[in-house]
């Protein structure tokens, strides 16, 4: 069987080899690949700043870089990771590649707008990288006023313009997905036959479309204040800095769901595929994505409990923040129920899925600590918060992204990566992540504030643990680059469906044709029909 598998003669990757055939393509799959390369570059740039932070914090004294440089390090780390890696990560790469085939379409509804969104992302990235090279920014990724408007003398405007522009790339991606999911579904692909990955992206797109314009206008107001001396947020000019925080978090809390919802979608695909079972409670999992998107818009002020909002407002926002736990728990329990009595296995993507479940649970539960008014006053602006959101954004979103990438890599490239090294990397990422960030819960609870480049001696042990864990984590991230690139040439040919998965995308050849399907498929089964499907192409083992 092994020698029967060959890379098909025609596929989207060899449909034109010139640079122009890539830069002017309207193929969602090629655009996804270009996004993959772009965000990987951004990930490693953002990661370098993370390395700088951990190096500085290995010793209690501020000896590696000055306090000002340190401020720039954590700002650039946050800006690049949030706006240029996490926000586009799963939607722009995996969503772009997979949503059309998953619903049986030839392309997204607006292929040209899809390409434009990539160019917009690049232009935004250039502005932000320019700001980095020109000396960086030191406001923190949150750009709180009045410091960002009148205090800081670093490159606030170029960075803000970069984020403003990149925001439109995110809006256009979301808009494209919404229209595609509404109007491009193949015959028979009803809403309740959609893979949960698609439902998750639908919810994500709603957040992108409704939230991103608010950060855009906030940046405009910040820019006119800083650039033209207009008075809007600056208290010296009669403005209200808390208004900035409201507007900022109105986007930036839902933005967390732009990062995590797609990962939850990937998770549902992985759990179902590798336990050979229909997902438990399909419609609950589907609607919990929408519920998270909706609740996400009414909890933002939990970031502002100590910013001087009224106690009553704080109580309401605290209560609402707790309610986000319900749909999140619905998902987690349904995945557990799917695993129960399933034929579960331990392929690399599934290792990431197991890791995700643990880390997402810890990240989510510590979120409840922070939503509690009294406790938040104690741990606000400490490393506890840093640890919490890294559990969600790295432990959740990046684990989901890597799990998805390992799952669909054979579909995207037609070849398998090294099973051994990918498992090593998955374990390194999981272990390294926990060693890095778990001590930060402790050190934060003990009172170490975030955003300082020095700290009291008694925190050193925990910080050294964190820096050591970060080394393992970093290596765990470098390893996939090597074996993925290696697989492009030397990897075993994967065939159309190496995991025996049930989704429509596995019906295409690997790598797919430019038009995905020769004929529009007609769907007449429910999703995740693993009861009928047990053909697993075991040739890979």
């Amino acid at each position: 069987m092994l020698d029967k598998l060959k890379i098909p003669e025609h596929h989207y990757l060899n449909n034109g080899h010139s640079l122009k055939s890539w830069l002017l393509t309207k193929d969602h799959k090629r655009i996804a690949i270009m996004y993959l390369m772009s965000i990987s570059v951004m990930f490693f740039i953002g990661g370098l700043f993370g390395v700088g932070i951990r190096l500085e914090l290995a010793t209690p004294q501020g000896d590696f870089v000055s306090a000002d440089t340190y401020n720039k390090f954590f700002t650039m780390h946050g800006v690049i990771m949030v706006f240029f890696f996490l926000i586009p990560s799963i939607p722009a790469v995996l969503g772009n590649f997979l949503i059309p085939p998953m619903i049986g379409a030839k392309d997204l509804a607006f292929p040209r707008i899809n390409l434009i969104s990539l160019y917009i992302y690049w232009i935004g990235g250039i502005f932000t990288l320019y700001a980095m090279i020109a000396g960086g920014v030191d406001t923190g990724w949150t750009f709180y006023t009045p410091y960002s408007a009148t205090g800081s003398n670093t490159n606030v405007i170029p960075t803000a313009i970069g984020i403003f522009i990149a925001g439109f790339s995110s809006i256009l991606t979301g808009l494209n997905f919404i229209v595609t999911i509404h109007r491009m579904r193949a015959p028979g692909m009803t809403w309740f036959r959609l893979p949960l990955f698609v439902w998750a992206h639908y919810a994500t797109s709603l957040v992108q479309v409704l939230g991103t314009p608010v950060i855009a206008i906030t940046i405009v107001m910040l820019a006119v204040e800083r650039g033209f001396g207009f008075g809007i947020f600056d208290p010296a000019r009669g403005g209200d800095p808390v208004l900035f925080q409201h507007l900022f978090w109105f986007y930036s809390h839902p933005a967390v769901y732009i990062m995590i919802l797609p990962a939850l979608g990937v998770q549902s695909e992985l759990i179902s595929t590798f336990s050979r079972k229909r997902i438990f409670g399909y419609s609950f999992v589907a609607f919990s994505s929408l519920a998270i998107a909706v609740f996400g818009f009414i909890v933002w002020a939990h970031h502002m409990f100590v910013a001087g909002i009224s106690t009553y407002a704080a109580m309401v926002f605290s209560f609402l923040s707790f309610s986000v736990a319900i749909p999140s728990a619905v998902k987690t329990f349904n995945w557990s129920a799917t695993l129960y009595k399933g034929a579960i296995s331990f392929e690399t993507p599934m290792l990431y899925a197991y890791g995700f479940m643990g880390l997402f649970a810890i990240g989510g539960l510590t979120g409840l600590f922070l939503a509690t008014l009294g406790l938040d006053v104690h741990v606000h602006d400490t490393y506890f918060v840093v640890a919490h959101f890294h559990y969600i954004m790295v432990g959740g979103a990046i684990m989901g992204y890597l799990g998805g990438l390992h799952f669909w890599w054979p579909k995207m490239t037609g070849r398998m990566y090294s099973e051994f090294f990918s498992k090593v990397s998955a374990i390194m990422v999981f272990v390294g992540f926990n060693v890095t960030f778990f001590p930060q819960f402790v050190v934060g609870y003990l009172g170490m504030p975030r955003r300082y480049h020095s700290y009291p001696d008694e925190f050193q042990v925990l910080n050294v643990m964190s820096s050591a864990g970060a080394t393992v984590l970093g290596l765990g991230y470098v390893l996939p680059v090597i074996y993925f690139l290696w697989s492009l040439k030397y990897g075993q040919v994967a065939g159309p469906n190496p995991w025996g998965a049930s989704g429509l995308e596995w019906q295409m050849q690997s790598p797919p044709l430019t038009e995905n399907f020769v004929e529009t498929p007609i769907v007449n089964t429910e999703p995740y029909e693993y009861e009928h499907v047990v053909v697993k192409e075991k040739h890979l083992v």
Partner: protein, 266 residues
């Protein structure tokens, strides 16, 4: 193979003569048009939230500094504001006519209505230029020697100001007629808080004007396409989409006009 998916020709009837404007990934013209319409509405939703942030800021500061907002608002010339409102509403009508004509295959009428819409848009922007230059003259541009002068008509001249001829660029007939009213704010506070009003005024009207300029740019392309005969009863989506956009920009002004010009007028 695994899933019970049948490959079949799902769009049998669509193989008869494709419309030249039908893109390859759509099955029918209807599907293509619906996609565009939904996409445009979703885009307009993002636009609402984009302006929404500004309206939020406006709401807060107007509540905090109502007197300053009322005072600063009276310094705007209601004549120009009302004229522009009328111009924009008229342009929405001409735009709707253009869409209708495209729908019923009237090529030259479409072109003419589009041109008329662009002219009305340009008139609006011209009036905006007159108003902006007036603000520069009166030091009402925040961050640029901003000065809320006491000799301003509404506070100093009282009711005795001569009624200017309509059309004089810097006249404030309505403001001049306002009765003198005790203010709760000191001149220093007024200087500070009217500046917030004008910061919002310039940001809001500036962004609105930018949207108009983009709209006129879009429309000139659409006009050229219409003139080239690219549209017919089966395919006039671009005309309809720019129409939706234009109506949206119009609606934003319908909110901006009372919020900025009519805060408190006798």
């Amino acid at each position: 193979m695994s899933n019970a998916v049948v490959h079949a020709d799902s769009h049998g009837q669509a193989h008869a003569a494709h419309h030249p404007a039908l893109q390859h990934h759509f099955d029918t013209m209807g599907q293509q048009k619906e996609a565009a319409v939904i996409g445009m509405w979703v885009f307009l939703l993002t636009e609402i939230l984009f302006f929404g942030g500004l309206f939020m800021a406006y709401m807060l500061y107007r509540t905090w500094y109502f007197d300053a907002f009322a005072e600063a608002s009276r310094s705007l010339d209601i004549f120009w504001g009302a004229l522009n409102t009328a111009v924009l509403i008229a342009s929405s009508l001409t735009m709707a006519m253009a869409v209708r004509c495209a729908q019923v295959n009237k090529r030259m009428a479409t072109v003419n209505w589009l041109i008329l819409t662009m002219i009305l848009g340009a008139v609006f922007l011209g009036v905006k230029v007159i108003e902006y230059s007036d603000k520069f003259e009166h030091h009402h541009v925040p961050g640029l020697n901003y000065k809320w002068a006491a000799e301003h008509p509404s506070t100093a001249l009282g009711a005795g100001a001569p009624a200017p001829v309509a059309g004089a660029g810097h006249a404030e007939p309505a403001a001049a007629a306002a009765p003198h009213r005790e203010l709760s704010l000191s001149p220093e506070q007024l200087q500070l808080t009217t500046q917030i009003y004008f910061s919002l005024y310039f940001t809001m009207t500036g962004l609105h004007a930018l949207h108009m300029i983009i709209g006129i740019g879009l429309m000139s392309v659409i006009t050229w396409m219409a003139w080239k005969g690219k549209f017919d009863a089966e395919y006039y989506t671009p005309v309809e989409m720019s129409g939706l956009y234009w109506h949206f920009v119009d609606i934003v002004w319908i909110f901006l006009f009372p919020l900025l010009y009519l805060v408190e007028r006798p």
